[in-house]
Amino acid sequence: MNIDFTEEELAFQQEVRQFFDENYPKDIQAKVDANIHPEKEDFVRWQKILNKKGWFAENWPEEYGGPGWNATQRYIVQQEKARARVIINMPFGVTMVAPVIYTYGTEEQKKRFLPDILETNVWWCQGYSEPGAGSDLAGLKTTGVRDGDDYIINGTKTWTTLGHYADWIFCLVRTDSECKKKQQGISFILVDMKTPGISVSPILTLDEEREVNEVHFDNVRVPAANLIGEENQGWTYAKLLLTHERTSIANVQNSKVRLEKVKQLAKATAAHDGEGLLWDDGMFRSKVANVELELTALEYTELRTLAAVASGGAPGPESSILKIKGTEVMQAIDELLVELAGYHAVPFTQAQYHEGFEGERIGDWFESNTGPHYFNNRKQSIFGGTNEIQKGIICKAVLGL
């Protein structure tokens, strides 16, 4: 075992750092620093820059356009991204549906869909959850009925993140309702959002932002050529996608940056009782220390998972730990930020955290956005399979319970 970077790894770190310094748009970085919501265009622009360098599809095999990084290199890239405050890759195409397409899709499907994902010409969204099927995902009711060369889809998908931006949606639909087990009879199909019969309606989250949507399918006719793999075998493909999703949720490096921010702010904020700095208040600092210990342990859990992935196969059920602990840490940091903001957590100042705000700003840094952020981030332990579902996965797949 060795914790040090090799000469080659250090050189790679320099290369990555320099690339981000020179190519990450300063206006997007400024938004991140000011906690302004990035727009669709920001994601598209940056992902195209990354892809031109060959660094966008991090988790893909080289033959499809992945960069061929080993575990340490991926770790270095994550570190450097956090350092440069790089916005995330929108995961729905590149991280989630793409592995399903290159693992289970036909050659024709790979040629048709993967290049546009690489180049971010197409914005994907996720059609998994339904109003009646959340954690119990296999209980989904949206139907796909074969009609000649098409499937006719009816039903409602929900929690569709940025579905109002999306060009395509990947859906789980029930193609056989006679099966004994509800995991059977599900198919995985790709749908053009412009198809007649699809409508998208917003769901506002606790921060009053439009992040998620409901997507309604009313007799939507989809070519059977868009079906991935075999009919009724969709659950297998869906699970592969979920492991990739879970692993990407941990967001360790982002939490490290945010925790650093907590420390900086605490060093510039008076203690609750006005005596000295908040940073010197032992009660506050021990909370920060506890979060940092958890995060440090998680960072190495993630590294061990990445190393295991590099030496063969998709991330295992252990990735559930990354999801549980990663989201717990994120939420703990949100709590610390609200505490830091003090009275300036009180005003609701949504407009000043969007592009184009010209009024008089309230509060320093992003004090008045800490509340909305905290409320919004309660989603972390719920989406991607609630943390209780993750525990269930550990019990079943790891402990054999």
């Binding site: 970077f5 940092e292 319970l401």
Partner: protein, 376 residues
């Protein structure tokens, strides 16, 4: 970066775990704990023959390893079997002090015996008033014509009843909490003025309160230079922390395994306990704690091995986090075993005891959390 063990480490791990699984029976352990000696000389000789006692020592000292990772591999495996043979007290606590400070002659006469299993040692450092502060040394060593005269009281000296030699930490100069003036001496167990109040520890090891009343030692009993033993004591503590963290990890892994197996067989309300989600999720938490403990321990061991600037703080991170994990896993293992968990006959409670005492040794969770927080 590399998270894999070397071939030697993997072989060592395999042979240790084979011993623990097939030759280290819990009933036999109970008899050993109840015996006067407290461990098996047969086991001890076997550990020596297989080179296990040499793993915590560098090659230049006659050992076979010496890295924190080597030590981690050994101690994690011993933890899995709740091994009561005094590896920690001899090879880590006393051994690391001699290895860090000893002259060639002192190493020659002491380390060979530790690696070969012929001699037993103990490190007498803790004092009642000091809690975990290593600089708080009230025991005094006064220089005289024949060497030094040592007086003071040491507590919780692990393995002292069986030791041929004690390494005694005593102050040769300075105020009680001064960093300078702390020295280490090799003191024969039969030295005049040395008395032991011996006991078995709550987790099955041998220990003693040690009183030194004008114990006269020669000048060559001093390890290293007079007054400058603190650095070695601190690095010994760090190695000991790595050692007990690894041992705790081994204990936790065994407890998780035993708990899962138990709930799969024990029936209540017509079904096995493993059927209940309220229990399942607690075992998932135990698993997660084991993984997080493992991760932070690897991090600390690797930092120690690469001489990282923040290595000692990384060790504190591991000790604090593993203290938390050990408490959760230990308590939950007992709880999920129900009434059997609190019986003396079942091994689960004994793992729990060891985990509890490990947190108390060399700085507990709060001590290390504060040490970590102060360094943030």
């Amino acid at each position: 970066m590399d998270f894999s063990f070397t071939e030697e480490q993997q072989l060592l791990k395999d042979s240790l775990e084979k011993f623990v699984v097939s030759d280290y029976d819990f009933e036999d352990r109970r008899k050993l704990v109840a015996s006067d000696l407290g461990y098996s000389t047969e086991h001890w000789n076997m550990f020596a023959e297989l080179g296990w006692l040499g793993m915590p020592f560098k090659e230049e000292d006659g050992g076979y390893g010496g890295s924190a990772t080597d030590l981690m591999v050994v101690m994690q495996s011993l933890g899995k079997g709740l091994v009561v043979e005094p590896v920690l007290a001899n090879t880590v606590l006393a051994g690391h002090m001699v290895s860090s400070l000893g002259s060639a002659a002192q190493k020659d006469s002491l380390i060979g015996g530790l690696i070969g299993g012929e001699s037993q040692m103990a490190l007498a450092f803790a004092e009642k008033q000091a809690r975990y502060d290593l600089t708080n040394v009230a025991t005094k060593a006064e220089a005289n014509a024949n060497g030094y005269s040592i007086s003071g009281e040491k507590i919780a000296v692990l393995n002292a009843p069986n030791a041929n030699h004690l390494i005694v930490i005593a102050r040769t100069s300075g105020e009680q909490r001064s960093t300078a003036g702390i020295s280490a001496f090799v003191v024969g167990k039969d030295a005049e003025g040395l008395s032991l109040n011996s006991y078995t520890t709550v987790d099955g090891f041998k220990g003693a309160e040690v009183r030194l009343n004008n114990v006269q030692v020669s000048a060559d009993a001093l390890l290293g230079d007079a007054g400058s033993a603190l650095t070695a004591l601190e690095s010994t503590m760090d190695m000991a922390r790595i050692a007990v963290c690894a041992e705790a990890l081994g204990c936790m892994e065994t407890l998780l395994f035993k708990t899962v197996e138990y709930t799969k067989t024990r029936k209540q309300f017509g079904v096995t306990l493993s059927f209940f989600q309220a229990l399942q999720h607690r075992m998932a938490d135990m698993f997660t704690e084991c993984q997080q403990a493992s991760s932070i321990l690897y991090m600390a061991a690797m930092k120690v091995d690469s001489n990282a600037e923040d290595a000692s703080i990384a060790v504190s991170a591991a000790k604090a986090r593993i203290g938390q994990a050990a408490k959760l896993v230990g308590q939950e293992a007992v709880q999920l075993h129900g009434g059997m968990g609190v019986t003396d006959e079942l091994d689960v409670g004994h793992y729990f005891k060891r985990l509890t005492i490990i947190d108390t040794l060399f700085g507990n969770t709060d001590y290390h959390l504060k040490r970590y927080a102060d360094a943030m």
